[in-house]
């Protein structure tokens, strides 16, 4: 099949979604990251979503070994990595087969024709070659002999083995895409210079291949036009591209500096939370104590110990790990110590879908402990605001002497977006409740009248020697007590203490229509998809009766929650589970009728499915 030329359609685009797919070893994550960084520096808003297999080195060419990186760049605000794809770059048949569904009809797919060998086609379970059998009719296919052209470009570079040559073909595709979207290769060449400082032959090779791809795209009449995406209008400031898990780790660093407390992390590796551990272990220069424990339980217990001794203590995990931590979390709640528990949610139950996203740990976070054991539950909503909510989790834990669970998810944790860098100087104050000078009649469970938070007397402080433990304690002295009325008092006090956190969190803000026919309700990592769907239906389709409210504070909820619900005729709660937040809302706000949009596929919502459902309700 010959390559058709694109019909001239020179236009400025508001946004474009590109997906790079190939074998695990093809370097797709690097290719995608380079395109993202270059575009961000050009001034575009960006949002990314890596999608890689759970297997570390899946067999080459296999369907389950496909690694992908999707990036959405825009001249306007971009809040999701996008659902359907404008340009697909497929480095092998398996990548094409598993990703073609996402490509918009009539749009472009670039393939490495050299990779469409009989063997690779068989591995991808293609009976006939899709490049020849007409199955790609309706798409614009650009076939490039990428492996051959890469070899050709490198024929004069000395000191390269075959493997290195083959592995640099991803740069050929990146070069082509740079040309198509009017991006400079400069940033990536700088990157080579830094990364391969001691290996000049690799700098030369990668630069040559990148340029070869760029010039190939430019020279060939086949790609007769190109798209431009102007810089987005963003709040002025210094930015960087940040991944959600990194932002979470940095929010904790900021909280540690602001509060003047040393940061302690007790953790055990688990996908997709491990990158927070990876990030924090790097920062010994800030005095971070990151302890990789023997299991999830020891992870949280070491954090509880560190908190007892006066550190800002953190434990990080994902769903199954939170289940293991349940008993210890109950202890932290009972002995009323500040503790931040971060759960990067993944598909459950059990081992579930470790590398996929879901919001199905909400009820576990709320109720997954024995007895009545309320804790503060908050959720981050974008890769960049993981920074703020990690900081916020630390602030609330320290000011209210309570465990705080921060829920993020695989989607925002691994996704990246521009972050307007926040200096610690500009972050809100964090007070802690450490005692200093002993006064008579001090008791460990003496509470602040406004917050009901107790004081934090840490070992090493003379006069305050005391014992805490998981047994019920007297409401005044903190000594072990089995008195029935006391137990009830303490149960209510612990619940009330969490409810009072309401006074220390911001009110909800409604976006788009402030009152009207339909209120779209979301929480956590779905902010981007919900926001862009409501935006589209409002701005492009002329609806002015839809409001959108997104929860970051779940336990307790903001004070004005009920007031907002009352302003709309219908309420639709959208979440990536079977209705867990809706369940909580129904229990708390029984007079409203909550409808639901739920998805449990390990995938984020798509714009189209949301818009379609919103319309049905209007």
């Amino acid at each position: 099949m010959s390559i058709e030329s694109i019909k001239p359609a020179p236009k400025e685009l508001e946004g474009v979604v590109i997906r790079f797919v190939g074998d695990s070893g093809d370097g797709m994550q690097l290719t995608g990251t380079q395109f993202t960084d270059t575009s961000a520096m050009f001034g575009n808003d960006v949002s990314t979503f890596p999608n890689y297999p759970a297997e570390i080195r899946a067999p080459q060419g296999s369907l389950y070994g496909v690694s992908g990186f999707q990036v959405h760049i825009g001249s306007v605000e971009v809040s999701t990595p996008g659902d359907s794809v404008d340009l697909l770059v497929a480095m092998n048949p398996a990548g094409l087969k598993t990703n073609l569904y996402a490509l918009k009809k009539g749009h472009t797919v670039i393939v490495d024709k050299d990779a469409f060998t009989k063997k690779n086609l068989e591995k991808a379970f293609y009976e006939t070659n899709p490049l020849e059998d007409g199955s790609l009719d309706g798409y614009h296919v650009i076939e490039v002999d990428m492996s051959t052209l890469t070899k050709e470009a490198l024929k004069d570079v000395d000191g390269l083995d075959n493997k290195t040559i083959t592995r640099s073909k991803n740069m050929f595709s990146l070069g082509m895409v740079y040309w198509m979207y009017h991006r400079s290769t400069e940033h990536t060449i700088d990157f080579f210079n830094k990364k391969f400082k001691s290996k000049p032959e690799l700098i030369e090779a990668n630069t040559k291949v990148l340029n070869a791809g760029y010039y190939y795209a430019e020279t060939l009449e086949l790609i007769s036009n190109s798209y431009t995406i102007s810089p987005a209008k963003m709040v002025p400031g210094t930015y960087r591209i940040i991944m959600g898990n990194t932002a979470t780790a940095w929010g904790l660093l900021a909280a540690s500096e602001k509060s003047g407390l040393e940061l302690f992390l007790g953790s055990y590796p688990i996908t997709p939370a491990t990158d927070i551990l990876h990030e924090l272990v790097k920062h010994k220069h800030f005095g971070v104590k990151a302890f990789q424990a023997e299991d999830e339980i020891a992870g949280i217990c070491s954090a509880i110990g560190a908190s007892f001794a006066g550190d800002l203590a953190i434990t990080t995990t994902s769903g199954p790990g939170l289940a293991l931590k349940g008993e210890a979390l109950g202890l932290a709640m009972m002995i009323e110590l500040p503790l931040v528990v971060i759960n990067v949610q993944r598909g459950g139950p059990s081992t579930g879908l470790p590398t996929k996203t879901e919001q199905s740990d909400l009820l576990q976070a709320m109720y997954g402990r024995n007895g009545e054991s309320p804790v503060v539950v908050i959720a981050a909503s974008t890769p960049a605001d993981c920074f703020n909510y990690a900081y916020e989790a630390a602030r609330l834990a320290l000011e209210h002497m309570t465990p705080v669970i921060l829920l993020t998810d695989g989607y925002i944790a691994n996704g990246s977006a521009p972050w307007k860098i926040q200096s610690v100087a500009d972050m809100p104050e964090i007070k802690n409740r450490k005692v200093t000078k002993f006064t008579e009649n001090w008791h460990p469970y003496k509470r602040d009248a406004k917050t009901l938070a107790r004081e934090w007397a840490v070992p090493g402080t003379s006069g305050f020697e005391h014992r805490v433990g998981g047994l019920e304690k007297d409401s005044v002295t903190g000594n072990v007590s089995y008195v029935p009325e006391n137990h009830e008092t303490m149960t209510h006090t612990r619940a009330e203490k969490i409810r009072l956190v309401q006074n220390n969190i911001p009110n909800l803000k409604v976006e788009f229509a402030q009152q009207g026919d339909l209120l779209v309700v979301g929480w956590g990592g779905t902010y981007g998809t919900l926001h862009s769907a409501v935006k589209q239906i409002t701005e492009e389709e002329g609806f002015n009766n839809i409001g959108f409210v997104h929860f970051n504070y779940i336990n307790p909820m903001p004070k004005n929650t009920e007031e907002i619900f009352a302003k709309f005729k219908k309420i639709i709660v959208c979440e990536l589970n079977s209705g867990q937040f809706a369940f909580i809302l129904k229990a708390n706000f029984g007079k409203f009728d909550f409808q639901q949009i739920n998805k449990v596929q390990g995938l984020p919502f798509s714009n189209d499915e949301l818009i379609q459902k919103f319309k049905q309700l209007l």
Binding site: L253, F264, F286, I304, G305, G310, L331, A425, F464, V468
Partner: protein, 337 residues
């Protein structure tokens, strides 16, 4: 820590206002008293002492000590104590645990705290039974032992905490009878002074559910003949008349009598607790007659906090990041105007 700068304490300073609720006659009282006597000798400020326990009879211990304390959850005291110590290495941290708490539900944490060699102390009350849940067999109960959960006799073979500990690379291990407060007090002081994780196994009698489990080795009448109290640098001699000793025969320890068959004191092995190679310590722990007590092993090694501290200092000195701003604004940033 030097005693000079520290307040003078007495036994009473470490007694809390809480009523002790163990069964009358329990060895736990002996352990509590020994600890309260040992602490004034350690030269450590009261506010710098933390007791962390799990669950079980033994784990009520922190409530009775007038120091900082955490009565935590079943088996997890090592995790909590590790966090306390890493957060503040100046503290004297003690884990109080039992055979169920340490070697059953908390087995994983028990071996890993020993492996890491954090400078803290573990007192393991081994009564070969679950007391607080009212009498089930534990991982140290003997085969055939009749308990509430083994009415026809226990079919699960036990392991020895000492052997388990050495397998986990424990640097300090001591064993002492629950009715020997004098030696116990001294061992607590030695454990405190030892830099690294110290494990002290107390052969503790449970008067209710496993009464007499150690009678044949700890009773006053027999203890000198049935136990050997090991001291570093001294010959391995025991017996009421101090005429029995240990020699190595092939790959086994053998009991000999001094004065018989030409054996003199010179033939008796000398105890080297500080030896790195744990082979001899392992053999002593395994010995059924006599039962080895005292400090079996005290091998001086680098602690986890020393390694961490050294690394942190080195990285801090060489780093360009002093404040988080230095990190946040480093590398690939860009301006939006």
């Amino acid at each position: 820590m030097e005693a000079t700068a520290v307040k003078k304490y007495t036994y009473k300073d470490f007694v809390s206002d809480q009523e002790v609720r163990w069964c009358p006659g329990c060895d736990d009282y002996v352990i509590l008293n020994s600890m309260q006597k040992a602490l004034p000798e350690m030269g450590v400020e009261k506010e710098n002492v933390v007791f962390v326990s799990g669950i079980g009879c033994s784990s009520r211990f922190p409530y009775y000590m007038n120091t900082y304390g955490v009565h935590s959850i079943h088996g997890r005291a090592p995790g909590i104590a590790t966090g306390v110590k890493l957060a503040n290495p100046d503290l004297s941290v003690w884990i109080i645990t039992g055979d169920g708490d340490a070697t059953a539900i908390g087995g994983n944490h028990f071996i890993h705290v020993l492996r890491r060699n954090i400078n803290l102390n573990i007192v393991l009350f081994n009564n070969e039974i679950y007391g607080l849940t009212k009498g089930q067999f534990s991982p140290t109960s003997v085969v055939g032992q009749k308990t509430k959960s083994s009415p026809y006799g226990n079919t699960q073979p036990p392991f020895s905490p000492g052997e388990l500990a050495l397998g986990a690379n424990a640097r300090f291990y001591a064993r002492i009878g629950g009715n020997n407060p004098k030696a116990m007090t001294q061992i607590f002081i030695e454990a405190h002074r030892f830099k690294g994780t110290s494990l002290i196994e107390v052969l503790q009698n449970c008067v209710i559910f496993n009464d007499g489990c150690y009678t044949d080795v700890t009773d006053k009448e027999v203890k000198d003949d049935k136990q050997i109290y090991l001291e570093h640098g001294k010959p391995m001699i025991f017996g009421k008349n101090a005429d029995k000793g240990l020699v190595l025969k092939g790959l086994k320890l053998e009991v000999v009598t001094i004065g018989e068959n030409g054996i003199t004191e010179k033939d008796i092995l000398v105890h080297d607790a500080k030896e790195k190679d744990p082979t001899m310590h392992q053999m002593l722990i395994r010995l059924a007659y006599p039962i080895a007590t005292g400090i079996v092993r005290a091998f001086d090694d680098v602690t986890l906090e020393e390694r961490e501290d050294e690394l942190t200092k080195k990285i801090k000195a060489g780093s360009k990041y002093k404040k988080t701003d230095d990190l946040f604004f480093s590398g690939e940033t860009y301006e939006v105007k």
